[in-house]
Amino acid sequence: MSSPETLTFMELAIQQAKLALDVLEVPVGCVIVEDGKVIASGRNRTTQTRNATRHAEMEAVDVLLGQWQKHGLSMSEVAEKFSNCSLYVTCEPCIMCASALSILGIKEVFYGCSNDKFGGCGSILSLHLSNTTPLNNEVSPGKCFKCTGGIMASEAVLLFRTFYEQGNPNVTDMVISHGLRICATVAFWAG
């Protein structure tokens, strides 16, 4: 069973997802936590930016990188910081985000629903394990992180469903890009 603390943080991530929903973005949200405190949050902004890589995780990471550099932290210090951070996100990070999180070397990830089409933390690839041995003693391409799914998954799915039922044709394809198994959407896309 998830700890009360975990649920509290996931609740905050859900709130971020709701903000995304309010502006017709695919509802995914996240918070990043260091020493029991939320230090950054993010929500999906793919439609607004016309940039399909602007997932909630990327938004939150950018906030942190900006903050830490403003405080004069060096790269190695920032790497150290990330290794003490946990991410709470409403949907399993996609392959891109999971890879990004292992490049940053985040400590731990908690997610809501799984991402059956694009998930990079077990569903399609397992980039959080990234135990491919580096060749010729080279630097490892990514760092492993602990990953726990299924936290408040039904709430996360409900947001996706609400989003889809709004039926905004402009964003239908974006739904797909987040890997929702909504048959009607798939039919639209395939047709």
């Binding site: 399909a52 059956d116 080279e138």
Partner: protein, 412 residues
């Protein structure tokens, strides 16, 4: 070099998968040939094989003595659920009325993509094979003209990748129908906006991804005045997709570096820049055509006046309010492409998983890379995203065979 240009398609699957094709367990049964039509028709109604359309429902076996046996697939035998009792009632009815004796057998899970695969599949249970009817240009080969064009764009990527006297990755997004560069960028891990070199004076903004403004200036290493091949023949540790964790090794903090970012790999920055262009070109209905023409004329000279083009494409970084006001009317003069649909990207190195997936999200049509990435490559070396069936978009991947010396003779 032009004559030796070779563009090789990197297939969705590794060839050795041939003998290890994923299979699925199914219930099958021998049937009386006299009832074959009736049974198959009924099965298609009550137990269609939705995800196994490539698998033939029925197979004919010639037994010893020339006797013919017909076998039919009844339904999937799910793992941990392989009891006959769990079959749908209608199916159980059919089984008992025809006195069938179901058994479990294996069929291939995915449709064959080559004749060789198909032949292997049929050793389990016959499947149908349809040579791919959709074709992304180039899979079946390039014309002389097309490969010249591919080489030209790849060379411009290589030029960017080596333009600082050090070697990084570079990305060039191209609209192949117009042979027009949409955006381009180098890795921007160590310095995004500024550096001590006065060439890099630009203020921080989304659009700083032009070859010149984006050229990476590592404050920790002085720019070399000459690019001897000795200096360039380092181990490419600055190429972000090759060594994504290299950034953590940087101890010192440079005051002169305005902003650095471990995730600003070339492909990510190029995508960002193409999105900025999209927002700019389609930010308002009224004058989008004029802007497009202006852009177009600049593009004819993109190599000679990058600054001008930069200004044109990206003068308007974010204008989301206007974007939102943009309505979808039918008399729009210029069709707004959906993200990078129809576009190609040229990368000097095979991208890592982050970049390769970003290119799926942004709907790139074809990826060309020159050098494989054995450490972290996601298009054949470590992973093979183009073969992940679950993804909603699939690009075609090509390797442009360049000699490694190409990295060393651009800027001498």
């Amino acid at each position: 070099m032009m004559d030796q240009c070779l563009v090789v398609h990197i297939p969705d699957k590794q060839p050795h998968d041939l003998h290890h094709q994923p299979t699925e367990s199914v219930f099958a049964s021998a049937i009386d040939p006299k009832h074959a039509n009736q049974i198959v028709r009924r099965l298609n109604q009550i137990a269609p094989l939705e995800d196994l359309r490539h698998v033939k429902r029925i197979q004919k076996k010639v037994l010893e003595g020339g006797q013919i046996e017909l076998l039919v697939i009844l339904c999937l035998a799910h793992e941990g659920n392989n009891q006959l009792d769990n079959m749908p009632p209608l199916l159980q009815e059919l089984i008992s009325s025809h006195q069938l004796s179901p058994f479990i057998t294996k069929v291939c899970k995915y449709a064959a993509t080559s004749k060789e695969e198909w032949q292997e599949q049929c050793k389990f249970w016959p499947t149908s094979y349809h040579p791919r009817t959709y074709n992304i240009d180039g899979i079946t080969g390039f014309s002389e003209e097309d490969s010249q064009s591919v080489l030209k764009f790849m060379q411009s990527a290589v030029e960017m990748a080596t333009s600082d006297g050090m070697v990084v990755n570079a990305a060039v997004i191209v609209d192949p129908s117009a042979k027009q560069i949409i955006s381009s960028a180098c890795d921007q891990i160590f310095s995004w906006n500024t550096c001590k070199d006065n060439n890099c004076y630009r203020k921080p903004e989304l659009s700083s991804s032009h070859p010149i403004s984006s050229s990476r200036c590592n404050p920790h290493e002085p720019l070399h005045s000459n690019s001897s091949s000795n200096q360039l023949k380092q181990s490419y540790t600055d190429v972000a997709c090759l060594y994504p964790r290299q950034w953590t090794e940087q101890q010192s903090h440079s005051q002169s570096s305005y902003y650095w970012h471990p995730l600003r790999h070339a492909a990510i920055v190029a995508i960002e820049s193409s999105a900025a262009r999209d927002r700019y070109l389609f930010s308002s209905e009224g004058n989008s055509e004029d802007r497009y023409l202006e852009l177009d004329s600049d593009n004819s000279s993109w190599t000679s006046s990058p600054a001008k083009r930069q200004k044109t494409v990206c003068a308007n970084g974010e204008d989301d309010d206007r974007l939102n006001a943009h309505s979808q009317t039918s008399d729009q003069p210029l069709a707004r492409p959906y993200l990078c649909t129809g576009y190609d990207i040229y990368l000097v190195w095979e991208p890592c998983a982050m970049c390769a997936m970003a290119l799926v999200h942004q709907r790139i049509r074809r990826i060309f890379y020159a050098f494989p990435n054995p450490n972290a490559g996601a298009l054949g070396s470590v992973h093979r995203l183009q073969g992940e069936k679950s993804l909603n978009h699939h690009y075609a991947v090509f390797r442009v065979l360049l000699p490694e010396e190409a990295l060393h003779k651009c800027h001498t």
